[in-house]
Structure formats: structure tokens, C-alpha cells
Subunit: 127 residues, 3 copies
């Protein structure tokens, strides 16, 4: 149940849907995730909101697309790096410059997620 | 000192105060937190910003309220799940559909927090 | 490659650049980071978005500046606290009240970061 936060500039507003789909394809391919496990929070930013190095660590950036992924601690380093590469490849295919993408994962555990099931909803409503 | 990020659609703007109070009651009840330990960041979103499965993992969603909670690693799995259930029950009592709520916790440690005390402020100002 | 999220009220919009620089100086000084390792996401908020205790844990707050820092697990508790103090001192020097600052770190590992290098970009483009 990864939760993905994507922060990018306003000028990419019209590309939200394709960027959403591209990032998701990268996660599904890289992590072997179910396709319907889709949770993303986009945020479009005005100039001045996103502050970034144009060169660090070894990049040639002229814009930035931050992709922060919260996911359960189920994947090893190689899987996470493969997923990162897959996400970037998918974004490049949609016209995003590779160097402009910065991906950061944070991990939690299964019990850190709480998504009420249909049953839960009924239990609450019937109390 | 949990820090709670709540991302939801603009149409819930008028419910911010009741949703804020409901989430906080859930944390206080579920984790045994002090009532004045209150830190929340709301973000209202336009259509297109929040991308979500309407069914995963076993839900019937027609909207989404993301509740992401950063908290110190002090609570076991049962406590965190009880807190999640308490938050959802409180939100349901305010008219939010249970299935529309997705809660994700991330954990850090005590030294990862830095809140200057009154003393600190005075020390800095007197330098 | 810390990623810093700064959430504060709209009335501080004109101070974004100085707050950005101040937070970054604190990280560079406190963690011994390279100066060009700069990644920040600002978010300006309307009244009602930021909910906070005016007193917890031992503060006298009349506003809030949330500084959330995602960084690799490379620093011990003393370093992180020193960094927090450095960030607050730099912000105070720019007119921000110490008590109004709340800093929270979360940690990940090296393989949780993915920043395509110039080489990666070329590899993708030449596929």
C-alpha cells in the first residue's frame, strides 16, 4: 500500500495524469505490486516553493519532480533501486527529463497502515 | 509529539475543524497522548491531485482522506491499530465514510524531534 | 541528500528565500553536509491549515514553522540535536521566533534514494 507524494511545479499541471500513470507503472513493475494498489498525493507548486540544487549529486537539472514513496519494509536495496530506475524510465517516456527526478523512499511496517475494510465500515455504522 | 498530515479534497474545507478534532481525539484515545500534544498540517486539494484506488485493499471508496502520522517509536502494533480504529470511528461520527480514510504511520526516535523550549529561545536571544 | 519540507503560513511568503537559506545553513553546519546538497519543498498555508498547540511541550508559540527533514541514517542523536539547534539559531537570526519552530527528522537508508546521474539520463535516452 505505497503512498506516493509527488511535488512539482504548476506548469506540469496538464501532465498530472500521465505522470501519475507513469510513476504507478514504475512501482508496479519495480516492486511487483498489484495494479490496483494506487495512492498518490500530487501537489503543484508556485515558483519559489521548490528549492533544489541544479547539479547535486551528479545531475544537470533545470526543474524538479520530487517523488516520495512511503512503503512497507518488504523490499531489499536492489528492488528499491530497480523500482527507482523503472519510475524514471517511465517518466522519461512521458517527456520528463531524467535528471529532474528525485526519488526518496521511507519505510514503515504492516501495522503502520490502517485502511478500514468494508467490514470495518459496517461494524462502525452498526454500533 | 506526533505530527499529522491530512490531505483531502477542497469540498471538505468547512469540515477542517471537526476533522482536526476527531483525528486528535483518536490519537489521544488510542495512544494515551496528552491532549495538548497537537500538531497537524492540513492540505486541501483540487480534483486531480489525489489519486486513489476505489477498492484496494477491500474498500468501497468514493473519496479519500489521507491521514499520515509521524510519531516516536513508542507504540506496539496493537496500539497503533487501536489508534487507527479510534481515528476512523471519530471521523465516522463526523460524517466521514470509514472506507474513505487511509491512515499511514511513520516512526522516528526521540532525538529526531527538536522543539525549542522557552529556555532555548531565551538562550538564543541573549547570545 | 536530505529532503526538507517546510510548512508555514502565507504571511511568511516574502521570507521564503531567507528561511530557505537559514534552514540550509543549519543543516550544513549541524550535519557537515555539502553546501550544494539542497532540496526543499515549501508549502504556504491559509489560516486553518496548520493546527498546533501554543504551549506543548514547553513553548510559547504564536505561529508555527514546521520543518520536516528526511535524511539518511548517518547521524547520531547528538548530531541531530545539534543540527536542530543550528537550524533554530539561523531562523532566529532571520526574525523567526524560536518557540515557533518545530523540527522533526525521519530517516531512511542510502538505497532509498534514487537520483538519476547524468549517465543514467544518457542511458535512458539512448535506449
Amino acid at each position: 500500500m505505497p503512498l506516493v507524494r509527488i511535488d512539482m511545479h504548476q506548469h506540469l499541471a496538464d501532465k498530472r495524469a500521465v505522470i501519475s500513470a507513469a510513476v504507478h507503472r514504475g512501482l508496479v513493475a519495480g516492486l511487483g505490486m498489484p495494479e490496483d494498489d494506487l495512492f498518490q498525493i500530487f501537489r503543484l507548486h508556485e515558483p519559489g516553493d521548490l528549492v533544489y540544487s541544479t547539479t547535486f549529486p551528479d545531475a544537470d537539472r533545470d526543474d524538479i519532480v520530487f517523488v516520495q514513496i512511503l512503503l512497507a519494509r518488504l523490499y531489499d536495496a536492489a528492488q528499491k533501486q530497480a523500482m527507482g530506475a523503472a519510475v524514471v524510465r517511465e517518466l522519461v517516456a512521458e517527456g520528463v527529463k531524467a535528471d529532474n527526478v528525485l526519488i526518496a523512499c521511507t519505510e514503515n511496517e504492516g501495522p503502520d497502515w490502517f485502511a478500514p475494510s468494508r467490514d470495518f465500515g459496517q461494524q462502525v455504522l452498526s454500533r
